[in-house]
Amino acid sequence: MTDAGSPFGPAVPDSASQAFACSQGDLRVRQSPQQFSVCLITALTIADFVDLTATVSARQNVGAQIGVFTLAAVLRQHGYAVDVVNLDEYFLDYLKPEMGGPTSGLTESETVEPTSLLAFVLKRLSTFSPDVFGLSSICSSYPLTLRLARELKKINPDVPVVLGGPQASVVDVATMNAFLYVDAVVRGEADESLPIVLDRLRRRASLDNIAGVTFRRGHDVVRNPNGPVVEDLDRVPLPAFDLDAKLKDRDGIHLEIGRGCPFACTFCSTNDFFRRNFRLKSTGQTIAEMRSIKQQYGITYFSMIHDMYTVNRKKVVEFCDALLACGEEYTWGCSARTDCIDDELIGLMAKAGCHGIFFGIETGSARLQKEINKKLDLEEAWARIKCGDANGVQMAVALITGFPDETRDDLRDTIHFFIESLRYDHAEPQLSLLAPLAATPIYENHKAALVFDDIFSDMSHQGWRQDREDLELIKLHPDVFPNFYAVPMKWLDRSYVKDVHDFITYLATWFRWLPVGILQDSGDLLEVFDDWKQWLADRRASRPAPDTGIAPYYTHREFRREFIEFVRTWYCDHRAAAPAAVMALADAEGWGTATRKAPPPKEVEEVDELDTGAFAYLRKPTTIIKVGVDYKQLVAALRSKRNLSQVPIRDITLAFRAATAGRVDVWQISPLSGALLDKCDGTRSVEQIAAEFADAHPGVDGIPPAKVAMFGLVLLQRQGFIGLSRNVLQQTAGPDEASEVVGRFVPPPQLSANQQPWPVPATAA
């Protein structure tokens, strides 16, 4: 047993004779852990996308970092009183006008000085008076963490400030040399070391000889050797979820299923933290934890935390079999490599409730796969994605661009992989700009050449712009914040790569089949990007750039509008091999017609049977669009990469109709049905619609047009498109309102600044 009573391992000798050097104040020696309180503060992981709605929707609602809550449980086992401050929740509160955040008061006057996030957090933290502050860290919000540490130290000079988590662990010495208010860093897995640190702090003893700890001795920074990792994860307690104030609102919950990825990719920082030591909790323990959480909190969706879960196939099979045998319904997501999973295993996982898998593909270039030491067989990767899709498993297809040796061909391969994945219903691609994460081989090999070029990796962003105070820190301390810097690219201009990254990311955000179609039609999306840039430059010569406000151009609907115009007026005329097909995609995804909203149910006096005096209205939000090719065959051709020129040309009406749980079905209906739907706006009676239809259309094979219309309305009613009401309803949404239907801008597909397994599905909650 350690001197702190740790259940995890042997004691580390205590050099109690040397007083803890960091705190200069008159700290009392606490007699017992119960008299010693700890405030653990999570790292901020939410990125700010300008708008509260967009920011909230761009985050996972599965709770704060699992590590902090686990440590809280460990410390409780040792008798400490622990508070957890979830900075993400503070940030979301800060964004709410009524909470005194940046938008408060601005509706009345633009001159109100907004509260900074830091001031907001400090005001809330003023109610805490712990004996130690423990701050977790990730790279993207590390400047904020350090500014918070500085302010906490200013306010509470006698209270030790201890850092931990992924970023502080790898830049410990640089941090402590640069920021004197940091008293110690607990590196790597802190389950064993943090209780010992607290015990020493409680007794005002030195932190000498505590494995995995970096601390001050006078003016020196002392780095103790690494500690062992926790071999038996079953002994780690269930996280202190009861400290998560928002637990009842969660859609699901993070659950640690193991630690350590055995691979050694050159860009990845987790190797240092978990030391490539692959471990899993036992199946029995994991299921017991899932069951316990379900019983205590009613949560049945689990975002399984492990950098690379499927390394040990036998264990995954055992877990899935046990889940199936227990007869309880759980859904879950995890991370995997495409070469550490097979079709049979994917099928079993899906059957056992696996809803989503995070696949780090990293690059679509076979050459770079070797260069970055990922070494995936890309054909094999496609086979796994295809299998996951067939099993209904949501897949994040994560890619990176910006590698130092990346060529134009490599970049093309990667963006093609990204867009190709859109052919699969359950694949959601993500493209990140490389960040040189501290302690990675890429960082070590290029640290002398890092540049600060104001092009930030989305691994390091805090939204669409960096905080000014953070930037000052970042510029002063490249060795503490290397992820905000860039590795120079040998063959490509980084601003060009950044532009391609934004273009591709938002092509897939605003559209789906259009980019797939253009890739298939052109064979070279990078050339199309160059064409687009030239078209845009020519356009800007005569028209000013649209005002997108604070939102970057590609995130804004102006990009969507201009890109559609580029496709219609330039691409289809100058480059397209199958212009009719591409034009149909632009029409289908260009939202030429406004969505008509459904009337509130309470306003409807429903009529079941076709009554000529009843008023026909659209039951659900519906967008009606006309295209010039057979859309069903077009989509089939895109899914199977068949020749787009062979898709039959004919007039088709599409109806995009809201189905269930956020799902929108695309119906292919005849132009006659489309004409009828157009008239079902709640203000026309069945009789009026039939008369207007008869005025504009001939009959069908001798059947009078009015009868055709009546039959068509019955059909639309049975298909759930329209309802009939005794009273007149208002369903206004003409073309003039089209611009209001589409959001002004959208957040990127990456859901937070830190990589996580597939997030909770809306339907799983």
Partner: protein, 61 residues
């Protein structure tokens, strides 16, 4: 889908078959992303919010 055709329309089996072919429809795809959101208006961003945050940016710059 079985469709109950009102009797007053006086349509023969053959005519119903013909009209079903002429007026029928089917689900051919599922929209996703921003396109689906545009229909369901999930992420419509309110202008007032944007303005407020822009003001914030100006104040803090």
């Amino acid at each position: 889908m079985e469709i109950q055709i009102p009797k007053h329309l006086n349509l023969s089996e053959k005519e119903i078959e013909r009209l079903t072919k002429e007026l029928g429809g089917e689900v051919v795809d599922t929209a996703r992303g921003a396109q689906a959101e545009a229909v369901t208006a999930v992420k419509v961003v309110e202008e007032s919010e944007v303005v407020k945050r822009q003001v914030k940016a100006k104040v803090t710059e």
